[in-house]
Symmetry: D2
């Protein structure tokens, strides 16, 4: 692999690198911005007690097409009331099991998910991942406890006055700033930022093909904005958290590369922001307490989640 | 199945039944006690921003013995940096998958997990569970958004002045009240109650056999206490959330039967309460913001979780 | 469940019942027809050494639609050459894992697969199946060693002079006899009978929807023919081994019910008979040595197989 | 990786290499020795029709320890008689699913399983394996149809006059020749050779720890013997098909390396040879028809099997 690359996203990555910022052993990147004080202030945002479930159901009707890269969750019953013949007191019970991609449906991508030139975030070599132990560095298991903070939602679809953004629309830094201005909110250090494209509606309408296709999302230029604002984690209501296909010829998910590997930014995908955004538009409050700790799977690269927002 | 049973736990269950209390269609039972107002007050407990991860790691070294009822989580890498030959820009990535019981390690039991005499909570017949759809009633998917509330920890081991309770020690209602008195805290309507036995230390010390064996835990008599206090959910630091083996001859997990089926109480198991309890003992504060939303798996009977407590 | 049924297939089942024929403990039904002598004579059919693989590949591109009843096999690599850093001598290795329905793709249905009125073959009650142990009676594990015998192929598509039979064409006993006459072969006691409809070509052409749809296959009337000929096992080149949809209103897979439960006939599905049939047509020899032992999974209901025919 | 190695097993591998022998595209190695003529002569060995199941059951009580490299098969019921409420005619059915290593229990190792210095058999680079497609070269799927041939059993335990060989006993070429002499049989080109150590008895006696430990098996020197005799495939009644631990310091499974990568020899493991060997000793016939086609899983590295021997 060629370290002397001149790819524009790699140039940008070098500029925005957080490697070493929190020590050579750091495995959570910008989640370091979520301080104890931040959690206190996030909790103070809970004023009415309204809660919003931002998760996609985990089931066989999930977004992935048959024969593709990832499978939809396979849920099976492993014990059933009919198995209780041996209970003298009539006890019945049920148990179940799931086989699922840890990046199935609504999910976090850890800092072991994407890198380039042989390295992941914070100088972690590709060989830090192996099949026996999974991700021995940058595992999602390190991130779990840090995914509670102030959440801010920026609604780019509403900014543009549309139901949902066009396929492959590239969200720009100006869009993010304009959304802040329209909404009267400001993204601050340690926030978990949710960006709405409206694209999730394709999934709700049952058009998985469209949903999993050419999606609107942040372009590479947003990386600097996110870096400067010290965003702790970013999540979108689409499948790849960035504009698809890539706007840079020959570059595969360049936003992921810079965001995850260089900035150390945990990314969230397939968040259902519909109800939350409607409520925020109604009450004018675009900040909330956000939690989505996920599962502490040892050596994991990502985690399925059912994120919650409280206002 | 004989509806005319005279089993003592079933008699008690009839007395403490919450069936119909929140309507005939209710599927979440005592989680109804978690009101919007409750969430607001829970959030106000976040004062220092300290956070505590109460979860067991999900991995092959989990608590279940080989050849037994449930398997420990099987985590496999499904994509690796070595697969990226087709990326002209040197992008590398990784993906992973898990096969796991939904009641693996730290978990919630939903109201579809245990019943008796052919019925689960709120008059749901056994046939409401099937293999195609899982639990069509009382699924954990209904409970997800309600598992955020005020948490209270009662430390029975510290009450008794021991490192950990003896095997098969039966926790009584008096123990719960005495722990409240010692700690200066009171369990209120809508709380998520965590009860510490210290038994989790067997797991931490690597003695899975002991941990999965004859455990201390609440006896049947605690049901009335939990009912009267309107506890929303109960979790322990052991594997079955109740004293084992059963103190009633011929009755299999009688506490589960009454708590889950009659009271409609969601139960949590294998919570790591060690660090949290030590901190509470230190600062004298036994209440906190608690969240453990889990995964919205359609038709699921339980959910793996990494619960968080914030003070 | 009503034992006094007057369903025509159940009437026929009573007439053709093999219950008790090989003892009350028998779990393999008509596979009892495969005697040691039968195996000797089957082996004598190997004259040129030509071998034919009758299996469908097991992979994610299998026949099952997304979100349906069964999943296609999920094959994952669990160890890879990149994991061998610790081998001083440069050893590399790979390992893999599969999650699959035991009735995925080419398969046998055991005598625990289908029954009616609460019973499976040979008076085995439904409760003989449970989640801890699977099928404690009639498991496929009992059948494994018996699935080697003389194979005979009857080509109904060629009989009718068509490339493939029409959708939902019902194969009759007369068709079977006519195919024997045309081909100059006779089905005898202990044979494993393969019946070709040509429907497999839909799968080969990539039209999974058509392949998994309204298929031609044996109608209920064929049961008597199969019973009288003492066929040991029957396999087809379609997904359900019988005409679909059912020709009896209200009856679900009636042929399966009688064949498996009453006659005790092991059924095979999704066999690729294209090359074998072409060869048989060419050389006029429609009998061969057949083996498809499958996997001895304890308590299993079926087995994936890659069947082989030798001539 | 250093191509200029001076490891003794790699030196031997160079000498015994079959790379290119059957063309640059060959993916099955010594299975090429199984000719049509060979199959005809193998079939002629079926004289009494006795059949022997050489497989280990696939279930949760398999040989692998908890928390280790591979899991034992996980078998779950995915449909049960209790799910048939919608069948007007009382039809009941069951379906099941398995999650298992393809090298679980009795199995074949394909030519994509082990290599060294970055290459597998026949100059296949490590990168021919990837996570999306598995083994794109040397997959077990290529081997399936060739695993039917004459089988010969050499009983080294009986040769030595012991119940089972000692732990870590190294079987030598002289042992193989002496067993031939004692038994009056000769291993010929295209044979599938089964070698009995008696070690399987540890498994039968429930001592999985011993069975999975320091096993007797062929040493590196046997490679030349196997090469010269043109053995098509080799299988043993232990877990690794070679003496363990390695008799060459620093070399990990050197026999595998030479046998699989250089000779192109498919290896079988965990064959239950007890009953077959006893029968051979009784009747003095150590040759038989052997078939173990396994599963045609696309891109697979190995296959679970239930092998059969017919005499």
């Amino acid at each position: 692999m060629n370290q002397q690359t001149t790819w524009p996203h790699h140039e940008l990555g070098k500029e925005l690198s957080n490697w070493g910022r929190w020590g050579d052993d750091d495995e959570i990147g910008t989640l370091n911005f979520v301080t104890a004080d931040k959690r206190v202030r996030a909790a103070q945002l809970v004023k009415t007690g309204k809660n919003f479930d931002l998760g996609m159901p985990f089931d066989k009707d999930g977004p992935f097409p048959s024969g593709g890269f990832r499978i939809n969750p396979v849920h099976v019953m492993t014990f059933m009331p009919s198995d209780t013949a041996s209970s003298p007191d009539g006890m019945i019970s049920a148990d179940d099991m799931v086989t699922m991609g840890l990046q199935s449906a609504t999910q976090w991508d850890s800092l072991a998910h994407v890198g380039y030139d042989g390295f992941f975030y914070n100088n972690v070599p590709a060989r830090a991942l192996n099949h026996m132990a999974g991700a021995t560095r940058n595992s999602f298991a390190r991130a779990v406890e840090h995914l509670i903070s102030r959440g801010v939602l920026l609604d780019i679809a509403r900014l543009k006055g549309v139901d949902r953004l066009e396929d492959s629309y590239e969200i720009t830094p100006d869009d993010l700033s304009a959304a802040e201005a329209r909404q009267g909110v400001r993204v601050e250090s340690g926030d978990i930022l949710l960006v709405r494209t409206g694209f999730y509606q394709w999934f709700l309408e049952g058009d998985r093909g469209h949903f999993m296709g050419n999606e609107p999302g942040p372009g590479l230029d947003c990386c600097r904005w996110l870096y400067e604002r010290e965003v702790a984690a970013l999540a979108l209501d689409n499948w790849a958290c960035e504009v698809w296909p890539s706007q840079i010829k020959g570059a595969n998910i360049p936003f992921h590369q810079v965001a995850i590997r260089d900035i150390g930014l945990t990314l969230g995908e397939m968040f259902n922001l519909e109800a939350l955004a409607a409520d925020c538009e109604r009450d004018g409050t675009w900040e909330f307490f956000f939690c989505a700790p996920g599962l502490k799977v040892t050596g994991s690269v990502g985690s399925p989640i059912t994120p919650m927002a409280l206002k």
